[in-house]
């Protein structure tokens, strides 16, 4: 008898085991609840059957478990206990599956071991539903960009399909960042706001909604891949952008063409030429000023004189006088014409004067002059013929108020200047300058600009003494060294170029002889005309 009962038990247990293991998810559910559930005896409902299990660490075959349950004050009923070995965690559980599980009533379950009660629990079966994951999860690309259609089948539970809540999880393939959408009852969902032309993974799980039925979240389904539609707006956007760009280009070209002259003037200004003031100089005489001068002498200077009458030539301060005749003739012989390196505006009509100065004079003669000046600073009556490499000024001895000029000692080329000065009636000034880069109109303060070779202060200076002519010479960028000069230095200066930009020749302050320092090699050092 006992053998028969044992055999029956074994067969029954095998059958039960077969049935239970036929469910794919039973073992996984047991394993999950083993971790999550805190009760000693853990119960869940799978396919409308309540299963309660408990863990036993000791594996002893002689242990006999008895499982009883009762509800609604009815008699206790027994349930067959089976065992299950979990392969993953290497644990053994004992479980019992109620054959006819009553819902919506309080169940009292008890586990006895060897006659002694081990566990006891009261529960309502409808509150512990543990569903299988949804089946047939499909992810399809919808017709629109950035959308996916997700659909699945509900659990096979009659009377419960309207009490389900689903969770859809989706993430870009390969990414760990996923989003979750919750949906009630309905078994399809449209995912919105996705990236276009991207592969997405989708998972779904289910749980009772908690009103009529309660339970645990099911396991996630296996991920299903879906690809969103590629963006179809890009070509359109590109075409629009190109079109707009084309229109903008056309507009800008139209604007540029309509104002091209103005823009050209601003961007590529014409180099000003005094062509209009010197008719025929460039066209007829090919820039040969001398020729042009000789041709247009009378008319030109007449006009220039009229223009120049606006300016008052300033008197030159004579620092010392020397005999001019000997030097003058020698210089006359040795003089060579100097070409202008720059042209002037009409105001400076004597820009036609081109002179080139010769090599510096003997050094010791200059030293003597300096010494003489130092010894006798009062000898401003001396007019000093300053000869330098670049610039010097010859002074005409002229008495104050004497309107006449002695032009004999003056070089021929200074005639125009002298003429100018004569007409103005001021003290004459004949100057020759190595490079008459510019004759600058002086300011009222008498400050010389760095660009000028001459400065004509507007004021008339009172002469220091009778017969002295005052001359003020400004040179561009030349520093005045008022220290006694050595011969070597003078020669040095004659050779090298001393060019400092901070030279300010305050005419009122500095009444020094103008020698030595104005070293300008030809036209190089002369800066451009100051307009």
């Amino acid at each position: 008898m006992t053998k028969m009962s044992d055999r029956l038990k074994i067969v029954f247990m095998l059958c039960v085991a077969f049935v239970t293991t036929g469910g794919q998810h039973f073992e996984s559910k047991v394993a999950q609840l083993l971790q999550d559930e805190t009760e000693d005896i853990k119960c869940f409902v799978e396919l409308k059957d309540l299963t309660c299990f408990w863990e036993e660490e000791e594996e002893r075959n002689d242990l006999q478990y008895t499982f009883t349950y009762s509800y609604e004050n009815k008699n206790k009923m027994a349930c067959v206990v089976s065992s299950l070995s979990l392969l993953a965690s290497n644990k053994t559980v004992f479980f019992c599956k109620l054959p006819k599980t009553p819902f919506f009533t309080t169940l009292d379950v008890q586990v006895f071991r060897d006659g002694r009660m081990l566990y006891s629990r009261s529960l309502n079966a409808e509150n512990y539903l543990f569903l299988d994951p949804p089946r047939n999860l499909t992810v399809l690309s919808s017709g629109k960009e950035g959308q996916l259609n997700v659909s699945w089948l509900p659990p096979l539970l009659k009377y419960m399909d309207d009490s389900m809540i689903y969770e859809v999880r989706y993430a870009v393939e390969g990414s760990n960042m996923g989003k979750v959408e919750v949906i009630k009852v309905s078994t399809m969902l449209v995912l919105l706001g996705l990236q276009s032309d991207t592969r997405y993974k989708v998972w779904v799980r289910v749980k009772p909604d908690g009103v009529a039925y309660k339970g645990y979240w099911s396991a996630w389904t296996e991920p299903v891949l879906g690809v969103t539609q590629p963006s179809d707006l890009d070509p359109l956007i590109m075409v629009l952008v190109l079109f707009i760009g084309l229109i903008l280009c056309l507009l800008s070209m139209t604007v540029i063409l309509s104002h091209h002259k103005f823009l050209l003037k601003k961007l590529w200004p014409d180099i000003p030429t005094p062509e209009h003031k010197f008719p025929g100089l460039f066209t007829v005489y090919k820039g040969d000023f001398k020729e042009w001068m000789s041709q247009n002498n009378s008319s030109m200077w007449g006009r220039s004189v009229q223009v120049y009458t606006e300016e008052l030539p300033s008197p030159l301060e004579v620092l010392s006088e020397v005999s001019l005749t000997s030097h003058g003739t020698s210089q006359r012989e040795e003089r060579k014409p100097v070409e202008e390196d720059e042209e002037k505006e009409s105001e400076r009509s004597d820009s036609g004067l081109t002179d080139r100065w010769r090599e510096p004079p003997q050094a010791h003669w200059l030293m003597e002059q300096l010494r003489a000046l130092q010894e006798n600073p009062q000898s401003l009556s001396q007019s000093l013929l300053v000869q330098s490499h670049d610039t010097y000024v010859t002074l005409n001895q002229n008495s104050q108020g004497d309107g006449e000029r002695e032009v004999d000692d003056v070089f021929e080329e200074t005639l125009p200047l002298q003429t100018l000065f004569t007409t103005t009636g001021t003290t004459s000034l004949s100057t020759s300058h190595s490079d008459l880069g510019s004759l600058q109109q002086s300011s009222g303060s008498g400050r010389l600009s760095s660009q000028s070779s001459f400065e004509y202060p507007n004021q008339t200076w009172p002469p220091k003494g009778p017969g002295y002519t005052y001359m003020a010479v400004a040179d561009s960028g030349v520093s005045m060294d008022y220290s006694p000069m050595s011969s070597s230095r003078i020669t040095e200066l004659g050779r090298h170029r001393m060019y400092t930009n901070d030279y300010k020749n305050e005419i009122f302050l500095h009444k020094w002889p103008l020698f030595g320092e104005h070293n300008k090699s030809g036209s190089e050092s002369c800066m451009g005309p100051v307009w």
């Binding site: 409308k48 509800y71 609604e72 004050n73 006819k100 009553p102 819902f103 919506f104 009533t105 309080t106 309502n124 409808e126 009659k158 009377y159 309207d162 009103v211 009529a212 039925y213």
Partner: protein, 185 residues
């Protein structure tokens, strides 16, 4: 004479209105109404658990059976279910009314009052579905059928039974109502 005719006309108007009230209701198939009742029954249970004083005396109540066997349910016809539900609702109504007499805690009393009105509404819903049994009210002195009722000894148990009954039998009946099935199909 004129007053008499006036009275008659007024009476006719009232009768006409009364007749309109008696006309069949539209079937209420939305289970969210029942879900609302279920939640309110659960709220009563929560209030009961937190009640401290004046929470009703220990008293025995006869309440309906709430257990549902799906296998049996599939073979049961709708009318049988309807009778079962109607009987149970009336039992619950009586029990709750008896319980309210012993409750002095005002939140609990309000919750119980709410449950009672919900049960009345459920009766109307069943009426709209043509599931109302002819005889719904059981006489108090008649012995309750043991197969149909059970006895509970406290108000918390009573509330638990009410909750289980609404979620189980009542809901299954409403979801299986033919009037609603015709609408869905």
């Amino acid at each position: 004479m004129q007053t008499f005719t006036g009275l008659v006309s007024v009476l006719l108007v009232f009768l006409w209105l009364g007749g309109n009230l008696v006309s069949p209701l539209r079937p209420i198939c939305d289970l969210r109404v029942l879900d609302h009742f279920v939640r309110e029954a659960r709220d009563s249970e929560v209030i009961m658990r937190g009640c401290r004083g004046g929470c009703g005396a220990m008293k025995s109540y006869f309440v309906p059976l709430t257990s549902v066997d799906f296998a049996v349910l599939e073979h049961m016809d709708v009318n049988g279910q309807a009778v079962e539900v109607q009987t149970g609702l009336s039992l619950l109504d009586q029990a709750l009314n008896n319980a309210m007499k012993t409750v002095s805690n005002s939140p609990l009393a309000n919750a119980l009052d709410n449950n009672i009105s919900n049960i009345h509404s459920l009766g109307q819903i069943l009426h709209s579905l043509d599931l109302q049994a002819r005889s719904t009210v059981l006489p108090d002195d008649s012995a309750p059928a043991s197969t149909q009722t059970q006895e509970v000894s406290s108000l918390p148990e009573l509330l638990q039974v009410q909750s289980s009954f609404l979620r189980g039998k009542v809901r299954l009946l409403l979801s299986a109502a033919p009037a609603c099935q015709r609408q869905n199909s």
